[in-house]
């Protein structure tokens, strides 16, 4: 598919009233594998985390993956965050040997034939900072120049790479003022003040350093739990629009709460027109930062019912996705965690409140004894209901000596959504891996969502969707008054809702295009509420195509 074909539709229409045309429930049993799991020609990345006998906690937490079209050729490219060379005995100034190509982050450009080329060096992404141990990645066009920029989180200093539009990137961290510090985890671009410029949220895990590193388990050494280290604040950077950012963590109220942040996801859960923030915390209350619309946030996880699991326990929150799983028009939260509680599903009950409904939704039987990280709610079978995919693997590489019922390496969980209740399905591979990151997108532009996952000490896994009979529609937003990526837009297609974002999952960044399964419907009615508050409606769009919708200039 050429870029011209991909961009064959460019809509710019006024607002109209639309009815809801939800697809009928698909009664098919999920017996055949949904994905074909294969390696991709030209991708030779290995996530090198360098586990040590000292069990430094950083070793078991990387690493992220991003799906982005960095050169705007209509083909998704892949960016992997590598970790670094940890050693038993480390002292400041610490070196993680990141100048060694084995520990570089990697950018793979997709070629028209579906193969990939490693363009890391020529793109200027080889130097990841020798004192940085890599974690995650966020993608967004922060300067609205039409080219996606990359933000890499680390233990150490984070790096913002500006996309120059010519296949190269420039490290603009110092100028932008977004280096953060300490141990950053997931990050994401979003526009919290609807000024048309993407701001940046960075979660931080805990107050750790090589001096503070310790080993737990006297006879059976292993990684220490997060509670052994002090909690820490997350960071919010406001985009000034001149290539620089201002740290507004304190003035916005974000820094009022300390936690053990790992995952972050965005959506406007109460429909007030401002994007809210959810932070998945490891073994503490989850944070729901309500956007007050005046530059400040109020953390309301407990009072809104989105802080604790159904059992009342504090989840060991790892990854999170903030999308509407039951097609009621309200974004819900799926939080992955460690055993022995199921992944937490906070159902949005409306009026700003949530209730944990993982048991009602069938996740109790699917996830009680596994460890989840990267997560997505995507419609893999295009039946109109968002399914769940979770990459799994325990934190401890020696967990079996503690509990023989648990495994360090696990296959992923694929759960198909049958009208709001999840059922196990065959992802196409039961190969156990120490899974961590996961990014979701349509790698081969066939209209069916694929998955790329990372695993510690291993090559990535590629889950290519086998496809099927149902129809689909994929939308690229182009903001004008709103941020160019359209992040924060609420897009309704035949009654389904998606919130435009590349954030979510764990340490990873997804294809920013909005994918909708249409079931047997051959046309779609689209309603968009942009962050600018403009409402825009497009009727009778033919199914099975990629379209670009530019923000209407008329309110």
């Amino acid at each position: 598919m050429t870029r011209r074909e991909l961009l064959s539709f460019l809509f710019s229409l006024g607002a109209l009233e639309l009815g809801s045309v939800l697809p009928a429930q698909d009664a098919r049993a999920s017996t055949s594998p949904v994905f074909r799991v294969k390696s991709l020609k030209g991708v030779d990345f290995v996530l090198r985390n360098s586990p040590t006998a000292r069990k430094h906690l950083i070793e078991t937490m990387p690493g992220g993956v991003a799906l982005l079209d960095y050169n705007n050729d209509g083909l998704l490219d892949i960016f992997f965050v590598n970790a670094g060379h940890a050693r038993d005995n480390m002292a400041n100034p610490v070196s993680f040997d990141r100048r060694n190509p084995a520990y570089w982050n990697r950018l793979y450009r997709q070629n028209p034939d579906g193969s990939f080329s490693d363009v890391t060096k020529q793109a200027g992404l080889a130097d990841a900072g020798d004192s940085n141990y890599g974690m995650g990645v966020a993608v967004g066009d922060y300067d609205n120049d039409g080219f996606p920029d990359i933000y890499v989180t680390n233990f150490g200093k984070n790096i913002l790479y500006h996309n120059n539009g010519d296949g190269t990137f420039t490290d603009v961290t110092a100028k932008a003022g977004v280096a953060a510090g300490g141990w950053s985890a997931s990050a994401g671009f979003f526009d919290y003040d609807n000024d048309g410029r993407l701001d940046l949220f960075v979660t931080r895990y805990l107050d750790w350093s090589v001096e503070k590193s310790k080993t737990c388990g006297s006879e059976k050494p292993t990684y220490c739990p997060p509670g052994d280290f002090p909690a820490i604040t997350n960071i919010l950077y406001h985009n000034r629009g001149d290539g620089t950012f201002e740290d507004v963590s304190i003035s916005s109220g974000i820094a009022a709460k300390k936690g053990h942040g790992l995952g972050v996801a965005f959506a406007d859960y109460d429909g007030d027109g401002f994007t809210d923030v959810f932070v998945a915390n490891d073994v503490s209350d989850q944070f729901l930062f309500h956007n007050n619309g005046n530059g400040t946030f109020t953390e309301c996880g407990l009072d809104s019912g989105a802080a604790l699991s159904e059992s009342g326990r504090m989840p060991s929150g790892m990854g999170v996705v903030f999308q509407d799983y039951d097609n009621d028009g309200l974004p819900d939260l799926l939080v992955t965690q460690l055993p022995h509680d199921p992944y937490v599903l906070f159902h949005n009950d409306g009026k700003g409140s949530f209730s944990a409904q993982e048991l009602e939704a069938g996740l109790g039987v699917l996830s009680g004894n596994v460890s989840g990280w990267g997560v997505g709610l995507e419609d893999f079978d295009n039946d109109g209901w968002k399914d769940a995919f979770v990459v799994q693997g325990h934190v401890f590489d020696n967990v079996q000596i503690y509990d023989d019922s648990l495994r360090y390496r696990e296959p992923p969980l694929l759960a198909m959504n049958r009208a709001g209740r999840f059922e196990r399905a065959d992802p196409g591979s039961d190969l156990p891996v120490a899974g961590r990151g996961a990014a979701f997108g349509d790698l081969n532009n066939d209209g069916w969502i694929d998955v790329v996952t990372t695993s510690l000490g291993d090559a990535p896994q590629f889950y290519l969707n086998r496809g099927g009979e149902f129809h689909w529609l994929t939308i690229t937003l182009r903001g004008k008054r709103s941020n160019r990526d359209g992040f924060g837009a609420r897009v309704q297609v035949n009654g389904q809702i998606r919130f435009a974002t590349a954030a979510g999952s764990y340490l990873s960044s997804n294809d920013k295009r909005l994918h909708f399964g249409l079931g047997s419907a051959e046309t779609a009615d689209i309603e968009i509420r942009w962050p600018s508050s403009i409402r825009q409606v497009v009727r009778g769009v033919k199914a099975d195509q990629f379209i670009v919708i530019e923000e209407s200039v008329q309110p």
Partner: protein
Amino acid sequence: MIHALLWMCLLLPAQSADASLPPDALPLLQSGIDAENRGAFDQAVAAFRKAAELAPNSAIVLLRLGDTYMKERDYAAAIPPLQRAAELSPDAPAVHQLLGYALLAAGYASEAIPHLKIIHDDGALGIAQLQAGQAAEAVANLQAALAKSPDDPDLLFYLSRAATALAGQSLDRLRSVDPNSARGHQALGQTDYEMKMLPEAAKEYEQAIALRPDLPGLRLELGQVFAAGSEWAKAEEQFRGETKLQPGSAEAAYRLGNALLQQGKMKEAAQELKRSDSLSPDMPETLYALGRAAASSDPDVAEHALQRVIELEKQTPLAGQAHLVLAQIHRRQGKTEQAARDMENYRKIQALAAHPPS
């Protein structure tokens, strides 16, 4: 109390010496007693040893010497003079008490037992029997001692140790007598389960059930093995089987209800949990699970159950969790003020757990 008895060695009057001693030993004995009264145990030992050399058949001198060694925590040194004192005065309870304690403290539990039996010290005797591997006798004597001192922490501690040892001995015996019996497999299954070897435990229980399908409890325990591995459908099958065998078992009904709850079968779960509550009312865990199961489908039942949990549990973590579920119910009902009060109560309990009153 036991601790005090073990290490407390003052058994003899310290105010005067024995007038029947040889004349040259008497001042030494008195000198030793004086030194002992001053806490100068080294000097006391030296004086008593010299007195014992002059009067080797004086039980009182030997007893004083042994007593002083024990005050110095030198139990091994105390044993020879006390053993000699016991030979000389076999009917003196104080000698047997000190010798029994010295032997026990030095690790000679079996040798201590006859002396502790003479003085009828149930507590110390029970401890000696536990250490000598006589778990059944230890349980009996420790229970007798606890009847006299019900809240003694040392006795409670040793009784729990003795009961555990007795259970272990019984299981070892069961395994050696008939390892392939249903009970033998059940015992092995239990051991595997405790070691978190869940697949192995399940196999043992399945073999036990194959041998004795009508034996109550097997399915309950196998269900718990599956539940520990979050295999809730398999757990449900076993718990359901147990409720057929034991329709009057509140625990089986509770376990079945919980397995249904974990699978999201809320209405069925609520039904079974109600049945468990009717069989054994006011079990907080059952009521809490009922509250969770009925929260969406029957909020009145859920609220009633959760309020009862709070009445029963007051400020425990379970009561806190009940407040949380109540808040969820009230938020759904639009009762925001009530939900806020629920959360306030939840936070109070959390704060209490974080900072318990001294």
